[in-house]
């Protein structure tokens, strides 16, 4: 909740700040002269400042709530309590009350610690000491060293002067003290607002893990091998799908018989999510490369077939007629009219297919694989290596984005006539 409110706050504050700065600077381009902008689609352009601030905000919040060393200390959200905590307890046997102090060393969970030495103090209830890891809690048998212990009928009745009983708890300056049903105190130091690294590691921890895995590897393969295997499967699966799917789509676009024959199959297979085929593919082809490539082939095949089919169907009949009356043969019509005319559609299909394949390969590797980006994050999650999981997710996202950018770039270079017909 709090991170969300901060996020919303930054969103609104940044909006007003950027607007203020832009107004001071003054704009005079055509768009700034429009009085009707609400509802004018062309007047809505992505604000670059907003994009930059948006990305920075995500990292800022990430850093704030993980206590990142990259951020100055004053920006950190309150962290978990670390250091020496004390609270007093009052034990009673009948009307005989005595109070003693418990000293707890709250230490970072990655370090070992020994309980501090304390003076036992006077009275029959003796002072105690214990250690508890930050974000953890620990049972403290305060009566263990007391002269009159639980066995002798002593009960802890107050903590820091507030009443406590089995199942109840008291908030102290350093955290919550609860009591188990049997009467043992349970100290839970204040957790603060930061995330424990096991849930969300700090950005720099993820970066250093990237560097570590890039150098040393993970599960016997380097990072590049894992990513490379995933990419290799996608490329091979997609190419197989395209090699079969595009001619199939052309045939469906050019012949009644082919269209009638394959339409039911394609239309049925297209809405089947490739992920649903994973179990069957594993049964048939195992979890090795063959199975993965068959799966990706199936993921790309229908998309490419449909793209090629609609590319052929989309040809303006005037172009075909014109080519025929310019003396072109059927083969020449195919080569010079139908194929170039369908390329924009095929590129769109290829972009979609690559995206689907990338998603499918990661999912397939999550299920079973020896190498690959999906396998890496799956194994890491089993060992609670959250930093590797986050690193993996980011790299998968970056690669997916890169694939899409590459396809768009290729599209711009290879089919500049797209949408100009």
């Amino acid at each position: 909740m709090i991170p969300f409110l901060i996020y919303a706050g930054i969103f609104v504050a940044a909006f007003y700040m950027v607007r203020f700065v832009m107004e001071r600077r003054g704009r005079s381009d055509y768009g700034s002269l429009k009085t009707v902008t609400f509802g004018d689609e062309s007047a809505v352009v992505s604000n670059r400042y907003a994009s930059v601030i948006s990305i920075l905000t995500i990292f800022l919040l990430w850093g704030m709530f993980t206590g990142s060393a990259l951020l100055p200390k004053f920006l950190h959200a309150p962290g978990p309590f670390e250091g020496v905590a004390t609270f007093e307890y009052t034990a009673a046997v009948g009307n005989d009350r005595d109070t003693a102090t418990v000293t707890v060393l709250v230490h970072p969970i990655s370090e070992d610690a020994t309980a501090p030495q304390v003076d036992p103090g006077d009275g029959w209830a003796k002072n105690d000491s214990a250690t508890v890891g930050a974000w953890r809690s620990g049972l403290i048998r305060v009566d263990r060293n007391d002269e009159i212990g639980r066995d002798a009928g002593a009960e802890v009745i107050e903590v820091d002067g507030q009443k406590i009983g089995p199942g109840r708890s008291v908030d102290t300056e350093f955290g919550r003290v609860g009591m188990s049903p049997k009467g043992t105190l349970n100290f839970e130091p204040r957790k603060g607002w930061q995330m424990e690294p096991i849930w969300l590691p700090a950005p720099e921890a993820v970066v250093s893990r990237v560097i570590e895995i890039a150098g040393e590897g993970f599960r016997g393969s380097t990072l590049w091998e894992h990513l490379g295997y995933s990419l290799f499967r996608v490329v091979v699966g997609f190419l197989c799908g395209a090699i079969v799917g595009i001619p199939l789509g052309y045939a469906m676009g050019l012949s009644n018989w082919f269209r009638g024959w394959f339409d039911p199959i394609v239309e049925f297979m297209r809405p089947v999510p490739p992920l649903a085929l994973i179990p069957l593919v594993i049964i048939w082809a195992g979890i090795g490369e063959t199975g993965k490539i068959i799966l990706l082939f199936l993921a790309a095949l229908w998309i490419m077939a449909i793209a090629a089919r609609s590319g052929v169907s989309g040809v303006n009949i005037s172009k075909v007629h014109a080519a025929y009356s310019l003396g072109a043969s059927k083969w020449q019509i195919m080569r010079y009219v139908i194929i170039p005319n369908s390329l924009p559609e095929i590129f769109t299909g290829a972009r979609v297919a690559m995206g689907v394949c990338w998603g499918t390969v990661v999912a397939a590797e999550l299920v079973a694989a020896e190498k690959g980006a999906g396998m890496m994050i799956m194994v890491a999650s089993k060992f609670q290596n959250t930093d590797i999981v986050i690193m993996g997710i980011i790299l998968i996202g970056v690669i997916g984005f890169g694939i899409d950018m590459l396809m768009r770039w290729a599209e711009r270079i290879l089919v500049p006539w797209k949408g100009r017909g």
């Binding site: 303006n316 005037s318 172009k319 007629h321 014109a322 080519a323 025929y324 009356s325 310019l326 003396g327 072109a328 043969s329 020449q332 010079y336 009219v337 170039p340 005319n341 390329l343 089919v415 500049p416 006539w417 100009r420 017909g421």
Partner: protein, 268 residues
Amino acid sequence: MTGLSIEHLSMRFDLPDGGAVQALKDVSLDLKAGELLSVLGPSGCGKTTLLNIVAGFLAPTEGKIVLNGHDVKGPDAERGMVFQQGALFEWMSVRENVGFGPSMKGMPKHDKAKVVNRLLDVVGLQDFKEKAVYELSGGMQQRVALARCLANDPDVILMDEPLGALDALTREKMQSLVLKLWKETGKTIILITHSVEEALLLGERLLVMAPRPGRIHREYRLPFAEMGVGADLREVKKHPEFAQKREEILSMIWDMEEEIMGRQEESA
């Protein structure tokens, strides 16, 4: 024998709902080589069907087309076609579009370049030859389409409302260009239009067609195309006979349209 003859052409096809359409009924016409024919008529009179049959894209149910002594069986480079719009290949440059026909025939590169250059000069697009066609204006694109058709040196040029999508000024310039090309090349041209003025200007012979079934309603022989060659078309339009013919044909088409409307109201 040279020339194009359309012999007793009928076209009738079934509709999915069980009805049938008589798109053309017994259309006959003889065109001598080098004649310029414009075809006019209300929508649904079968003028585009007629053109598609002559081009060879459709087979008539009765009758035949004979060009220079042989029957027309399908599309062929001897009958070039200029479409209204969108028939250029946008994946090719202007030069490649114009050179498409010669390329299909396998003409040697050098000869092809000569043909393309000559035609680009004729239509005035020499400076645009390496441009992509989608970078050109509508009028320029139609010039490319004309040049592309001429590059194949067809015997007959079929034009399906080639200037229909152009603005009035560009259209007038293009009309002059069509007349100039007709005179210079001596091609037989059939031009379909829905503009009465255009039909009068660009027709040595003018065919008015009537709908349901599509048939020839009336034929005119006109002097305006001859007058318009190399002259200001606006001067031609001022000719008293031009105005009189225009009114006559307009009211003829009006009557047909009204008859169609009346028939629709009756059946409704």
